[in-house]
């Protein structure tokens, strides 16, 4: 074995402390070391995911105290799948931004790479931890990294965006802490499996209060309507690759926490319907707002919120099929939206305002980037040969099996809106005339950015033409999510113990 799940957290933390020291010796090391760490995390999580799908869930204890006394990490088919998606994407974001501020300014570059690495590590930590307070600590680490990355360009707008995010995030943290305190006061434990096994003994009034606080707090991180006011600003003011990392990594961690709390921790039946309704509202509001956006990155941000709404709708269906569809959507969104962010930020690279109307006719001058952007747009709206088609189809079948016809029709109507605003951009890129006075000056992507974007495009095509490559993993993960008794059994009564 290459390691145990705890190394997914310990090694990035070690590297975060090492980077300021090695930066004094050779400045290039502050770029190389995060890459090596992210590559190691990627290899480790994929290897462990393979191990888990053969041998069953790994439960790792920390400091030698078995659950519920100590903190434990749970690396199951579900958490392993999400951790693998996050680490792979983290590595790609690192590769895309390798030359960030190179030869320009050393201090900001050093901090950028530390925060990027911690963003990935904390998101992985949120997913694999089995302890609710430990999850809170990781949410804090992720929050601080995300606020700093948003404020990275120390300008007026980015300061405003970061401040908004900071206020919302601070509110989320305090609500989360109150919810954890209520649970601890009633059940005397912080271990998630232990809480899940004792939750039925809890006073229903306190249970609902804690659940409401949890969902409000995590809803801020997961961009649920109406708590997502920070998201469009943060996405559009942060550096380009960070927008991709937000869409692909942090939001996924937030969604995971919501579903873990609703599906495993609490046994409140109405929560599924609540997810369904709130997801639908998020979907419709975000997609119609995206239609009206004039700036490219804001449009992508609203589209990202809408996709998260769709994911929550799919989870809210409440069946194994729904969970499967939601996980498939999360996987596809994690590879398609970064491609759109990467290629989109190159399309408007030389523009100050980053307006959509400035991309007119760029297809002629930046054919490669334009084609990749179009591929991403086709994939995210769900056109057949690409990856997005299969996930949208599985959402619709899952809803159809439950007879939720209203939801199917709403999803289809929203898909039409999605097609309109994405094709509007693609139309401008390829079919309008390039005009020197209004369009942006083309900017060739760097070599490392090209490799990153091509990798993502290949992934989209592979999943599109051969979805069986991932469906097995997704089926395992969705069954793992729905099977709460097995989760409790694994954590509290042995299961697959630590591997050597």
């Amino acid at each position: 074995m290459v390691g145990t799940p705890v190394l997914l957290i310990a090694i990035p933390l070690l590297a975060a402390f090492v980077i300021p020291l090695v930066g004094m010796i050779w400045k290039e090391l502050v770029r190389i070391i995060p890459g090596l760490v992210l590559a190691y995390m990627m290899v480790l999580s994929v290897t462990l995911l393979h191990y888990v799908s053969v041998h069953g869930t790994i439960v790792e204890t920390i400091a030698g105290w078995s659950p519920p006394w100590g903190i434990n990490l749970v690396f199951s088919p579900l958490t392993g799948l999400l951790a693998s998606i996050m680490t792979i994407l983290g590595f790609l974001v690192w590769m895309y931004s390798y030359r960030f501020k190179r030869n320009v300014d050393f201090e900001p570059a050093k901090k950028y790479f530390i925060f990027l690495m911690m963003l990935v590590a904390s998101a992985v930590g949120m997913v694999i931890t089995g302890d609710i307070f430990n999850m809170f600590v990781f949410i804090e680490i992720m929050g601080i990294s995300a606020y700093t990355l948003t404020a990275f360009y120390t300008g007026r707008n980015s300061a405003e965006a970061a401040f908004k995010y900071l206020m919302m995030g601070g509110l989320a943290s305090s609500l989360l802490l109150i919810a954890i305190a209520i649970i601890y006061s009633q059940l005397g434990t912080l271990n998630m499996a232990d809480i899940a096994s004792k939750i039925s003994t809890m006073n229903p009034g306190y249970k609902i209060t804690a659940l409401v606080f949890f969902i409000t707090a995590i809803g801020i991180e997961a961009e649920m309507f109406p708590l997502n006011g920070w998201a469009p600003d943060a996405y559009s003011e942060a550096p380009g690759p960070v927008g991709a990392a937000f869409a692909g990594i942090t939001v996924k961690a937030g969604i995971y926490v919501i579903i873990r709390i609703v599906f495993t921790l609490f046994d409140v039946p109405g929560a599924y319907d609540f997810l369904l309704v709130i997801g639908l509202i998020t979907l419709i509001v975000a997609e119609t707002t995206a239609l009206r956006q004039e700036r490219l990155k804001r449009m992508l941000a609203y589209s990202s919120i809408g996709q998260m709404g769709l994911v929550v709708v799919a989870f809210g269906i409440g069946t194994v099929e729904g969970a499967y569809a939601a996980l498939f959507l999360m996987l596809n969104h994690a590879i398609i939206k970064p491609l759109l962010f990467f290629s989109g930020s190159y399309l408007v690279f030389n523009s100050k305002e980053k307006r959509i109307c400035e991309v007119n006719g760029l297809g002629k001058y930046m054919p490669f980037t334009s084609v990749l952007f179009a591929l991403g747009a086709f994939a995210i709206v769900g056109l057949p040969p690409f990856a997005g088609f299969w996930s949208k189809l599985s959402v619709l079948t899952a809803a159809a099996n439950e007879g939720l016809l209203l939801i199917i029709s709403l999803i289809l109507i929203v898909s039409v809106i999605e097609i309109v605003y994405y094709f509007r951009v693609v139309n401008r890129i390829f079919f309008l005339k390039y005009d020197k006075s209004t369009s942006v000056v083309p900017h060739r992507p760097r070599f490392n950015a090209v490799i990153t974007m091509v990798t993502l495009a290949i992934l989209i095509l592979v999943i599109g033409f051969y979805p069986d490559a991932v469906t097995g993993l997704l089926h395992n993960a969705s069954q793992d999510l729905m099977n709460t008794p097995e989760y409790i059994q694994n954590v509290l009564h042995g299961g697959q113990s630590l591997i050597r």
Partner: protein
């Protein structure tokens, strides 16, 4: 209308929060079937640590402490990154009036005592109340006093970040050493020693000393960065 709705939501929220927090009954021993007894028992019998709070913070929930230390580290780094301006490094401090000689000689006298107290608190973290976070904060207040009293008091940023990084690295490396002898991350691998001795509790004391160094240097760096911010 909008204000009324907001008030209504706040009132509902407030009621349920009051209800839940009232029901907790703070101070009533209700955690009997929870994890409390296990902690109280194992702290003395297995870890040989006199201070249960320390054993929970550093050992039972040591992973959380590692996370909290990282939160502090990232917050200080974030502040440096947001206040960063090209070729800043040492800006000049704006001073309205210089401190009197009483303040200056008084703080010179107090400074070693404050540092000593801070060091005492974090070295004895596993024996007496207090520990790394508290001791580190006390030391940082000593530096704050010196910075306020002397307008040309200098702290080397390089030394601060060296100490800070080494303390963090040692924390994680001690954690990784826990894998020795088939253990787990952060597990004790040193002899526990006798209860109430200075050298007891295995790695717990060492980790808390590291936390003390880290908190002290980070808070000092934080004060120094803010004091020297150019506008």
């Amino acid at each position: 209308m909008k204000k009324f709705l907001v008030l209504l939501i706040l009132a509902v929220l407030g009621y349920y929060m009051y209800d839940a927090l009232y029901g907790i009954g703070i101070g009533i021993p209700r955690f009997t079937d929870g994890v409390k007894d296990f902690y109280l028992d194992k702290t003395v019998s297995q870890l040989h640590v006199a201070n249960t709070v320390t054993s929970i913070v550093v050992n039972f929930r040591g992973f959380d402490t590692l996370g909290e230390v990282t939160v502090l580290f990232l917050a200080v780094t974030a502040l440096g990154s947001i206040l960063y301006k090209k070729r800043h490094d040492v800006g000049t401090r704006s001073i309205l009036f210089s401190s009197s000689s009483i303040v200056r000689s008084g703080s010179k006298l107090l400074f070693p005592a404050i540092v000593l107290l801070g060091a005492y608190v974090f070295i004895h973290g596993h024996l007496t109340p207090g520990g790394g976070f508290q001791g580190g904060t006390i030391i940082a207040t000593g530096f704050l006093l010196m910075l306020l009293a002397y307008e040309n008091f200098k702290v080397s940023h390089t030394v601060l970040s060296f100490v800070e990084s080494f303390a963090g690295i040692l924390f994680v490396v001690i954690g990784l050493f826990g894998f020795m002898n088939g253990g787990t991350f952060l597990q004790n691998f040193l002899p526990e020693g006798a209860l109430n001795n200075l050298f007891s509790g295995g790695v717990i004391g060492i980790i808390y000393v590291m936390v003390g160094f880290k908190v002290a240097t980070e808070l000092t760096g934080l004060i120094y960065t803010i004091l020297h911010e150019k506008d």
